[in-house]
């Protein structure tokens, strides 16, 4: 009887769910670098959400004089077709962070940008492969690592080109490309974490209890490997945005009509003699978003590993 009451006592003393969530999140604000990074990322998220409801002008309407420098009407100027750059820049956030366009004429969008879905799938595939390789060992480990070695051997841009040459263009293809290029890195990370966690006593305990392998993998190991995986995911979103920009620049990225930053640079560089601003703005946008994610990940990693030293 006394045992039951003491556990009940402990329950009430535990922090509420909101409190424990906040104590997890507040770690971000203990690092100045992470806070700055988060602010930069949050800025673009907010810009993207605002652009869903309002932009100064329609992003695809060519209603102004071409190649204007920044002025009071078009704050960032206009591009080679007389479209307002600020509106296009704002809308350009959507395809990366906020929406993915499904193929077909219906024009259905699903929430979550191409970069986020790409990283999500690379995490999913990478985590499943890495957990199995690390925990089961032996032949599983050998064969999974062999396949991953083959995938890592591709320079990622060559893999993008190959995938796009084979599957054509589209949002989903870019997601596949990001997932395929990202998965091996995630799998290696998860595998090394698993190899470490596998030796802990609570895993022994779970094995002794007779838990299934899947329970041990996804309920015991994965939650304990969460921190480094999340930091890695942040960096990967940065790489993904970088890659989307590069593909857009090469003219094989996200298809029109939605503006895409990389493609904006590509189009604007043809008129660079007349109007340099049109190149500057999307370039700054990509760079700030990527730097923001990098800083956020760096700061987070510093905070997470502080107590491990």
């Amino acid at each position: 009887m006394s045992v039951v009451s003491s556990t009940a006592n402990l329950r009430t003393n535990r922090p509420s769910r909101l409190q424990s969530w906040w104590s997890g999140v507040s770690i971000v604000f203990e690092s100045r670098i992470a806070t700055v990074g988060l602010a930069m990322v949050a800025f673009w998220f907010i810009v993207g959400i605002v652009s869903l409801f309002w932009t100064p002008y329609p992003p695809n309407a060519n209603e102004f004089t071409q190649n204007l420098s920044p002025n009071s009407i078009n704050i960032l100027g206009t591009d080679h077709l007389g479209r307002d750059i600020l509106s296009r820049l704002m809308t350009g956030t959507q395809v990366i962070l906020l929406k993915t366009r499904l193929p077909g004429d219906a024009g259905i969008d699903i929430p979550g940008g191409v970069a986020l879905w790409g990283v999500f799938f690379s995490l999913l595939v990478g985590a499943v492969l890495g957990l199995n390789a690390g925990y089961r060992g032996g032949w599983w480990d050998q064969s999974i690592m062999q396949v991953l070695d083959a995938m890592i051997a591709f320079p990622s841009i060559v893999l993008y080109l190959v995938i796009i040459a084979a599957l054509g263009q589209g949002d989903l293809v870019v997601i596949v490309a990001i997932a395929v290029t990202g998965a091996p890195g995630v799998a290696r990370l998860v595998r090394s974490l698993t190899l470490d966690i596998k030796t802990r006593d609570y895993i022994r305990a779970a094995e002794t209890r007779g838990e299934s392998v899947n329970f041990i993998l996804f309920k015991e190991i994965l939650p304990n490997a969460r921190g480094p995986i999340l930091v890695d995911a942040m960096l990967r979103v940065g790489y993904a945005i970088f890659a989307i920009g590069t593909l857009g620049f090469l003219g094989i990225g996200l298809p029109p009509p939605d503006p895409d930053w990389g493609n904006m640079v590509n189009e604007a560089r043809r008129t660079i003699f007349v109007n340099q601003w049109a190149v500057v703005w999307p370039a700054v946008a990509i760079a700030t978003l990527v730097i923001g994610l990098n800083l956020f990940a760096d700061g987070l990693r510093e905070e997470l590993t502080r107590f491990q030293k």
Binding site: D149, P155, V158
Partner: protein, 433 residues
């Protein structure tokens, strides 16, 4: 050590094999009908089918994979009954396929139902005469058939009196001809014998067109490497020993900015500054001859600068992190407390250990360099391997993409193997039993 070496070499071979399978099936089986691209969207279904047969695309995928990897001349030779050999065309310098008929090099052509044998003369021309009547063999269904080599480098099966109408692609467009063969095997020596086939876009052998591109890229990447490495290591070390001071802040922030700025953006700005405003350097790399790179080294100045700007930050950051870690360690503290001159501590004790990590990681990151090279080459119109892959991928020219991609993968894997080995030699703490 020997066991470790053997294991990594076997594993490397398996990796390359897996890569080749993935590449081949993704591109050739996964991609759509390439003949639409070659013949145009207004070509008819019949024309496309004829052209597909001429490319040998009607064969089953596993067979095409084997042909691509290890060649099919030996398979075709078993049909023709003659050894098949390649001989350089004296005018173009490119290899042509001939059948070795009792010491004479021969090819065949069919005109108006008549089979002619073309015999190669020592001066490179060929002598045409009607083929002997006894070359025809009786097939399973009683038809008279003949396996020979045609003038386009295919092993083909002719059936007497039953020529197939074929659509031949000429410079002027498609032309229909009668008397075509029933079956084609486009002859190739295979990837392992360094013949990845013909480009679908230009109909020239991939190996011939790829070589100068690879040379150009090696020059570009090599020069960039020589510029980046000393500079980046130096900056990284300076930032590392001054951790937290303003000079570290400046180097760190600049290198983060340089790394986070995509290479195409850096390149565009460099073009703007040096090519357009200052007019110091050519803004695009136009190659008027294949040796232009040696005649006018200025052509690669901007591409090299762009690559430098992108790679510099990455390597400098890595070196800095490694340097900071080493400078924190106990043995450096001991050396300083011992009263050793600071410069000696840094140069003799810290740098040697700190450079181990960046140098090996650089070897492992050749993949990354190749990625940068693709973008830079496309941006500057530099005729290198990266632009080759890009152009081929856009067209869907899978023969060219496969060859170039296999090459990059092989380079990446080879440098990784070398990096692994270098690491074990450099780092005395790692020994493989």
């Amino acid at each position: 050590m020997a066991r470790f070496l053997l294991r990594s070499i076997i594993s490397t071979f398996v990796t390359v094999l897996l890569v080749s399978i993935a590449l081949f099936f993704l591109l050739e089986v996964g991609s759509g009908d390439i003949t639409v691209k070659i013949l145009g969207v207004f070509s008819t279904e019949e024309q496309r089918a004829s052209y597909r047969a001429q490319l040998g695309l009607d064969a089953p995928p596993w067979q095409r994979y084997a042909d691509w990897l290890i060649g099919n001349d030996w398979r075709a030779a078993s049909y023709t009954g003659f050894p098949l050999v390649t001989e350089d065309n004296l005018q173009t310098g490119e290899a042509e396929w001939w059948a070795d008929v009792n010491g004479e090099l021969a090819r065949w052509t069919m005109e108006d139902g008549e089979l002619f044998m073309l015999t190669r003369q020592p001066d490179g021309s060929s002598n045409q005469e009607p083929a002997a009547a006894d070359v025809w063999q009786i097939g399973e269904n009683g038809e008279e058939l003949f396996w020979g080599v045609d003038t386009k480098g295919n092993a083909v099966k002719w059936v007497r009196g039953a020529g197939e109408p074929v659509w031949v692609l000429t410079k002027a467009g498609l032309r229909q001809e009668g008397d075509g063969p029933r079956q084609y095997i486009p002859l190739r020596k295979g990837l392992v014998r360094l013949d990845p086939g013909k480009s679908l876009q230009t109909s020239r052998p991939v190996a011939v067109t790829l070589f100068p591109r690879v040379r150009n890229t090696l020059i570009l990447a090599g020069v960039a490497f020589l510029v980046v490495m000393p500079l980046a290591l130096l900056l990284g070390i300076i930032a590392g020993i001054n951790e937290g001071k303003w000079i570290d802040r400046v180097i760190s922030i600049t290198s983060l900015g340089a790394t986070a700025t995509p290479e195409f953006v850096t390149g565009v700005f460099l073009i703007l500054v040096f090519g357009i405003w200052l007019k110091w350097l050519p803004a695009v790399s136009v190659f008027l001859s294949s040796d232009a790179i040696f005649q006018d080294p200025k052509l690669i100045a901007l591409p090299v600068l762009t690559l430098t700007a992108v790679e510099l930050g990455y390597v400098a950051r890595m070196t800095r992190a490694s340097m900071v870690e080493v400078m924190d360690s106990a043995y450096i503290r001991t050396a300083i407390i011992k009263g050793m001159p600071y410069s000696r501590v840094v140069l003799r004790h810290a740098v040697r250990n700190a450079l181990m990590a960046p140098i090996t990681i650089i070897m492992l990151h050749v993949n990354w360099l190749i990625g940068g090279v693709v973008v830079v080459e496309v941006l500057f119109g530099f005729p290198g391997l990266g632009k080759y892959i890009y152009d081929a991928a856009i067209f869907g020219d899978f023969n060219a993409v496969e060859a170039a991609a296999m090459l990059t993968v092989t380079i990446a894997i080879a440098t990784r193997l070398v990096g692994d080995l270098a690491y074990t030699f450099l780092n005395p703490r790692i020994r493989y039993a």
